[in-house]
Structures are given as structure tokens and as C-alpha cells.
Symmetry: C2
Subunit: 176 residues, 2 copies
DNA sequence: GTTAGTGCAAACCTTTTGCAGCTCT
DNA sequence: AGAGCTGCAAAAGGTTTGCACTAAC
């Protein structure tokens, strides 16, 4: 699995496999979703309540610089934090629904083709590539159509599409 | 030019064209580079010293939500701020050199192809798309080769590629 | 004259840093 | 033993918000 190859790579570099890092690596590897630092911290705290948020940031930074995880923004849906995923799967694009927040992954040859064209066109050496697409998923397109209809029938709310989008977005979480 | 079409679009929406917005729009439109909020603020202050940073943020947010500008991260080279560009050109990818920071723009059919495939594959309605590629430009590849050679000859500095990359990156600017 | 927009100050969220103490190897 | 890590506290960077005042239409 992914975990082994990451731990191997770290050992090679002389990076210590502390208890904290083992917890974090396992979470990043085993969790299906795209985690941000805060979420990862909350999950890690369940396994070790003393584990500090700073350690999470430091570990993520190290993994990113070592090329072991990729950093995503997911079109800033949900805020300005970064999300992380292990760098094992084939290159893929992230497709984010701006209404419900669902993230799909798209694999397909246009991505490789794009990479190759950029390399040959500019003589560029590609190390990282990130494609993020925002819009409405099939499900939310239908729901939105109904919402717009409702607005026509009940023109009480003078909200454009902006208000609609905002309302669907969960409020930014605040730390106590 | 771009400015007129943006101003027209704003007028249609009943958005007021204040002096501040005119300054900001002109800067965004006329400046070649990809500006972040702080840089835009500095430039705007030269034209109107009273113009507030908050107004810059509010204007950028409005333009973004109105689909008039696109928000970029440029692979977080230079920090976590966002960059903006008017949404007029054809869709394109941004190619960022992680050593010198140069940004190239890549137009090409793989981008349209990718968009079409995502729309048909997921039944997704694409509103925004962003592709960012990080690596080394042709120029910096050559320089890096020399740097690595130097390290072999003078193994005094135990810096891996990470240190090399970091050193090239200008320190994060701090507000006074 | 209304209502949207601005400036100011203060908050907020996310991430980084300095340093003393702990712990892998 | 000693370099590398962690935790804590505090700061920094980037962005947003509340509110009273101003200005565009």
C-alpha cells in the first residue's frame, strides 16, 4: 500500500518515523477524502490527544517538499485552506461542485497530453501539475433549476446567483 | 479593450462605478502581470493615497463572483496570496518556474478537450477551470545542473534540492 | 434622497517561528 | 549522546466584518 512506500522513502532520507508521523501518515493514507490540516489534526487528536497542530503543519510541509503528497486548493470551496493527498495515483484533475462541495477525480489522456505539450513547447521540466474545475454536478444542476424557478415565483428574495451559491456553502468554521 | 466590457457588465448589474473601482479596474486591465491584492493595493495607492486595502479585497471579491476575473494561486510560489487576471483571453494554463518564478501561459487544445471530456463524463457544468504547472523553465534547468555540480565539488553545504529551491525563493514579505 | 460603497479598526483563519525540552537511532 | 522532533506560546500573513460616514445614481 501507499503507507509502506512513503515510510520507505522517508527512512532513505534519514527522516525519523516518530509516533506522531506514523499517526499522520496512516490517516493521510487510509482516509479516502481530501483532508486539510485542521481536519487531519482533529482526527490525529483522537489517536493522540497531545499531538499538536503545529506538528501537523510541519509534517505536511515536509511531505509536500519531499514530493510525497500533493497540495490542492479545490477551488477554495470551503475556504482558503489546503488539502492533501498521497502522490500515488495517476495524475488526475479535481472536479468540485460549487453547490454541494462534492469532489470527483478525472483521469484521462488530455492530462498527459497537456503535460507533454507544455514540456516540449517551453522546454519546461514539469514537477507538479494541478487541474481544478469548478461548476455544478449533474445533481445540483437540477436542484438549481428548481431554485431559479422558485425565485421567479417568489421574487421576495432579491438574491442573484451569488446569494444562492453563498447560502449553499457552509459557514466558515471558527475555532473556539 | 477589456475595461469597457467589464464596466458595461457591471453597469448592467447595477453596480456603481466609483472612483476607486475605476482605478482598480484600470490597473487590473492595463497591467500585464498577475497581480495579488497587496500589489494591486500598492499600485492603487499611488493614484489615490486614501484608497483602502479593504476596498481592494471587496472589489476583487465582487469581480470574482461576477465571473469577470479569475483567481490564481500560481502554485503558491511566493506565498499563499491569490493572483487575478481578467477573464477575456482564451482558457489557458499557467506554467510557473519554481526557481525563478517566471510565469508562462499555455494555450492549446488539450485544455478544451479536457473540459469537454469532464462535462460529458460527469454530466458536469463547468464554470471555472484552472490548470497550474510547476517545475523548472529551460533556463533554470541549466542553472540547476551547474548548482548540483558545484555541490558535488564542494560538498560543504549539505543542502539537498529542497535547500536549493528555498534559497531561490525570495523571503516572504512582511508588512511593517 | 436612497442605497450601495468606502474607510477605519478590529477580528478572524490559516500557517509559521522561536525556543526549551523530549526522543528516536 | 546528540541531532532531530515535538509542544507551547506567540506572531505573522492574508482576508473578512461591523459600523458610521460618504458619494453615485
Amino acid at each position: 500500500m501507499a503507507l509502506d512506500s512513503i515510510e520507505g522513502s522517508l527512512k532513505e532520507r534519514g527522516v525519523r518515523l516518530t509516533r506522531q508521523r506514523q499517526i499522520l501518515l496512516e490517516l493521510i493514507d487510509k482516509t479516502g477524502e481530501h483532508l486539510d490540516a485542521e481536519r487531519l489534526y482533529q482526527l490525529a487528536k483522537e489517536k493522540d490527544p497531545k499531538l499538536n497542530r503545529v506538528t501537523v503543519y510541519r509534517t505536511l510541509k515536509m511531505l509536500k517538499e519531499g514530493g510525497l503528497v500533493d497540495e490542492l486548493d479545490l477551488m477554495h470551496y470551503g475556504g482558503d485552506q489546503h488539502y492533501y493527498e498521497t502522490r500515488l495515483k495517476q495524475e488526475h484533475a479535481h472536479v468540485i461542485c460549487l453547490r454541494c462541495g462534492k469532489v470527483e477525480e478525472f483521469f484521462g489522456e488530455p492530462l498527459q497530453r497537456l503535460r507533454r505539450q507544455i514540456e516540449s513547447h517551453f522546454g519546461f521540466q514539469v514537477l507538479l501539475a494541478r487541474t481544478e474545475v469548478g461548476g455544478y454536478c449533474a445533481h445540483c444542476q437540477a436542484l438549481r433549476a428548481r431554485e431559479v424557478e422558485d425565485l421567479r415565483i417568489l421574487p421576495t428574495e432579491p438574491d442573484g446567483p451569488k446569494g444562492t451559491r453563498k447560502a449553499a456553502k457552509p459557514a466558515r468554521s471558527r475555532r473556539a
